[in-house]
Amino acid sequence: MAELKLNSLRRYLLEHELMFLAGQPAVYHCHHFNLFLDQTIDDALGAEQSRLVRTRAAREFSHRVLAAVCDRLGAQTPPERLQVATELFSAMGHGRLELNADARGGAVRGTHLHYGFAWHEKYGQKVRRRDPADAFATGYAAAAIEVAFGLRPGTMDGTEHSCFALRAPACNIELTPTERFEEPGPPIGEAESRQASGPPEDGLYEDVIQPITIGLKEFTAGVRGDERGLVQAFGVFVTMHLAGYYNRISYDSVDVIQRTAPQSVGVLEDLLRESGHVCVFNTFGGILLSPEWEGLVGPPPDDPAQIVAFCMAIGRALGFGRWIVADFVPERRFVLRTPCSYESVYYRARYGVAPRPVEYMLQGAAIATAQLAHRVRWSEKPRLTPEYYQELFKGGVPWRAEQTQAIVCGAPVSEIVVTRV
């Protein structure tokens, strides 16, 4: 069996800046985004249904990536495949798993699991959590056993019984063969992503954006989990994550709310958009203020045009798509356009054409980019605290975003026009 090297499994569709892990869509996101999105699903569906949705999404897309990685590395026996599963999990920054299970089920012990650990770090002082946090790890572990023992996808279930976020010393997950078998959805890989992407184009400031994108990709190529299986970088806990997980939990939740409480769909969609604010503020901001950025580019200036260009480069390097600046007038207008997004790829493959734009993260990220570019005094090196986030984003931002073109609606590109209110 070949050695697992995360970087050799990672590939970008260069012309579209989508990232793949062994052919499966993947992106980088930080713990702030991960926790916010999971919490949004909890708030929308309630803890138990949210747990099911998140665990199944994790299981589905983890099964795909694990099967592909095992295939590429030549991992054939169950022990080899279990080894691949635990190593990949840690390399991606999700913590450490001990898998003591087989086709009949079993036990999993997790330490430093990204969600539970980061939740404890972020909220543990102020909030007492009631439900375990590691649905992603639970679904991943179930998929690992399915792949290791040649089981059909969707046949292993998991429940997290104790969790670090609930102040247990470690996380304990029980795996059992499921009584509610779930047929996996259609595949979403490189071919489907190409099919759902428009023609790439250049925008403003490409001479700035492209070299930085290349530099950031070279930097992230060497990023992998430490001894704990966590990635501490740019002032946050970073994960390489499965785009399918984010997409499925988001769109499945919208589906459920549309069926059960249609009057609340707008609230859920607003929260999904806010995940874009959370991402740009914490991850993009953390990158801009990091020594690594300062070495590669220089300290970020108080120049909105440059910050907007920098954010395009960061979005591309994180695998979000070939974001371009289609138009920019300081204090008045910012137009973000892209031939693809990880959301549009999933939506088109799973749902076809949408009646209205539903690239929530992209919409939120566009507004947040405008806000960071104009309202943050970068030269003062601000601390990206929750209080500062509240100051910048709560109580109404002075920007309005309109998605004027949407791949999910059949357009060749997605375009967000952000204008000053």
Binding site: H31, H112, G124, F164, P169, R228, G235, G286, G295, R383
Partner: protein
């Protein structure tokens, strides 16, 4: 065993000034989500920052740099010093297994070593 978090000690933004044999270096908490693990030194002249890498290597630090534009040096005990040669920025990253209550003292120890190396 996972890291225990001491919630009772507040973060603070104060800059601590170190004077080591005439070399003065300011140290303050960095923006980050890790509790007291990341610290910033006051900016150095870029020429001094560039030479610092070599001096720290001579003190037993291991050069783990992957790029010329940002130097990463690891102390034998796992703490790291990040140096940006073009701007003179120096960041100290304390190893995460360091008990919470000792993190500031460890950062001060590394900063003293840096100040001493600059003499």
């Amino acid at each position: 065993m996972q890291t225990e978090i001491d919630w009772d000690t507040p973060e603070n933004d104060d800059t601590t000034r170190l004077d080591v044999g005439g070399a003065v270096l300011g140290l303050r908490l960095s923006q980050s989500c890790y509790r007291r693990l990341t610290w910033e030194c006051e900016l150095l002249e870029p020429s001094k920052a560039a030479s610092l890498s070599e001096k720290l290597r001579a003190l037993g630090y291991c050069d783990e740099s992957r790029f010329s534009w940002v130097h990463e040096l690891a102390r034998p005990d796992g703490h790291h010093v990040i140096i940006v040669p073009r701007t003179g920025r120096i960041q100290i990253r304390i190893h995460y297994l360091t008990p919470f209550a000792q993190r500031q003292a460890c950062a001060l120890g590394v900063a003293r070593e840096i100040a001493s190396a600059l003499n």
